[in-house]
């Protein structure tokens, strides 16, 4: 089974995001980058499936040259080879899906496993758009994946509970939290990853026009919520809620 998985290089989600004074973007000086956390679940699941069913894991990233670091991390975890589609442009989800559709056309994987969203842009669109372009079935927000007889049986986290869906492969799966526990790259894994193949392409090589459908006009900080007051005890709290806030 050939499994394609994707990683995005994002700002460290535990760092405070600061915005440029001219609102043109976020401040990138001194910012650390890492693999999008949802993609870690996707990569882990891809490797787990390969371990169970055999085959190959190809990891793809679209982004700056520096994203080779995240691709090496994925290969250190156990992916077999990597493809970087190099661009410094900030692509919208539709452009990412168009680029990936071309990569899928070349690689012809049996299944694609991606993170359900990126923790920077928080859009949660690319797997579904890609599913539509490929005309493949999708199982988003997966917390459980089993492969049987050319089908994926996927448990999904949905509003109101959980749902189970079967999709015939080739298909596309997006990873939610609780799908697995992503492994740490071992030292031998890191050494091996340095020698694994990493191909670099550009959107032009793939014949994809990355012009956006959605344009970001500016970036602003949300309205800050000031800290309130500390109350002495439960009685004080109840009185404040009753008399000041009037919410009980």
């Amino acid at each position: 089974m050939k499994i394609l998985t994707t990683v995005k290089r994002v700002t460290d989600p535990d760092m405070k995001v600061r915005i440029q004074p001219d609102q043109s973007g976020i401040v990138t000086e001194g910012v650390e980058y890492k693999m999008n956390s949802f993609d870690e679940y996707g990569v882990e699941e891809a490797i787990t499936l390969k371990e169970a069913h055999g085959g190959e894991v190809v990891v793809v990233s679209i982004g700056p040259g520096a994203a080779t670091k995240e691709l090496r991390t994925a290969m250190a975890m156990g992916a077999d080879r990597a493809i970087l589609v190099e661009t410094d442009a900030d692509l919208d989800s539709d452009a990412v899906a168009r680029v990936l559709a071309e990569v899928v056309g070349r690689e012809e994987p049996d299944v694609i496993i991606m993170g359900k969203q990126a923790v920077d842009s928080d859009r949660s669109q690319t797997p579904q758009i890609l599913g539509s372009y490929l005309n493949w079935p999708q199982a988003t927000f997966a917390y459980k994946v089993e492969i049987e007889d050319g089908w994926a049986v996927v448990g999904r986290e949905v509003d109101g509970g959980t749902a189970t869906k079967r999709i015939k492969l080739p298909g596309i799966i997006s990873a939610d939290l609780r799908l697995n526990e992503p492994r740490y790259a071992s030292l031998p894994g890191i050494m091996k990853a340095k020698r694994k193949p990493l191909e670099t392409l550009t959107p032009d090589d793939l014949g994809v026009d990355i012009a956006p459908k959605v344009k970001v006009l500016n970036y602003e900080a949300p309205e800050e919520r000031g800290a309130g007051e500390m109350v002495d005890d439960v009685d004080d709290l109840i009185n404040r809620l009753k008399d000041e806030a009037r919410v009980i």
Partner: protein, 321 residues
């Protein structure tokens, strides 16, 4: 005409309240485009939901009762929504930013060659429609321009109230033309049954964190919620630890809530959690660590052991509510 199409959401034929908040967004948008608001209801038993949603000041409701829609699936809903959008000359197609909306709308956008906005919190007209949306776990707000003629939008419903009821709009049957695909199959939906209000609809939310140390200890969270007629929520850490169902998660990757009153109990206040509750009107934090970041956003902070303070709070509230 530049109409707005709302995809209604229902659970077993009962209209979900997130649909009503989405209608308000749609009405604001239609006021800017000069078009009408149309609603699409897909399912196999949606007559009641269609008549219900028709009462909220819309131009018309279009419904399809077809076996292929018995269980929601993106692959069957997306082509039906795209067809309806074209037939109704919709230039904006929107739905709640629920797990269903997030699942289906990108496929609709792809079919309509449209750009999509996720989690819109406002719409305005400044030389064309502009939408604002949060990203980076709510730490950044952007204004975006969708460059395609048709725009697809998922709506963060906690930012919009339900519209007032008006005259009943006509309810019309819609033929989807969708046939059952052979490459997918709905297996089951395991619903978390609860007598409490839905998290996203509740006036009061009581949420617990990993500091509660076990699922059993969430009982006191539920007792407090029940005393106030509220819903129960949790942090990602508490859900990951298996204390409570995933459906309770509030935050960047869970639900976004904005109740009148929010209790954060034994919650440290990671930015990913704050993203899901910062819009609440009054926030109460109870935590034994005075340095916990949650106190930075709380209106009222109580430094106390939750195991003592919460039962005391519940008992005392029972005597006054």
């Amino acid at each position: 005409m530049a109409n707005v199409l709302v995809v209604a959401e229902h659970l077993d034929g009962a209209l979900r309240k997130v649909t009503l908040s989405t209608l308000t967004f749609a009405q604001q948008t239609a006021a800017l485009t000069g078009g009408e608001v149309h609603v699409l209801v897909l399912g196999d038993n949606v007559d009641a939901a269609a008549s219900e949603v028709a009462k909220y000041g819309v131009a018309a409701v279009h419904y399809a009762n077809e076996p292929v829609f018995a269980n929601y699936m993106a692959e069957t809903y997306a082509p039906a929504i795209a067809k309806a959008a074209q037939e109704l000359s919709a230039t904006v197609v929107c739905a709640p930013s629920s797990t269903t909306g997030k699942d289906v709308l990108p496929r609709v956008a792809a079919k309509l060659e449209a750009g999509m906005v996720s989690d819109a919190i406002s719409v305005s007209d400044d030389d064309g429609l502009k939408f604002r949306r949060p990203l980076w776990a709510g730490n950044v707000i952007t204004t975006v321009d969708v460059l395609t003629p048709v725009k697809v939008v998922s709506v963060r419903t906690s930012d919009f109230d339900a519209p007032p009821e008006g005259d009943a709009a006509p309810v019309k049957e819609f033929a989807s033309g969708v046939s059952a695909p052979d490459n997918l199959e709905f297996v089951s939906f395991e619903q978390v049954k609860s007598e409490r209000p839905e998290l996203t609809d509740a006036d009061v939310v009581v949420a617990g964190g990993r500091g509660l140390r076990s699922g059993e200890n969430f009982q006191m969270i539920m007792d407090l919620a029940d005393t106030l007629g509220g819903a129960v929520g949790a942090t990602r850490a508490a859900v990951d630890s298996g204390y409570v169902p995933n459906d309770w998660q509030i935050g960047q990757t869970g639900k976004v809530v904005a109740p009148n009153l929010y209790f954060a109990v034994a919650i440290s206040g990671a930015i990913q959690h704050l993203a899901g509750m910062k819009g609440s009107k009054t926030i109460v934090a109870i935590n034994k660590d005075p340095e916990a970041p949650i106190f930075q956003v709380a209106d009222y902070g109580l430094v106390a052991d939750a195991f003592e303070a919460v039962p005391e709070l519940t008992e005392k509230l029972k005597t006054i509510t």
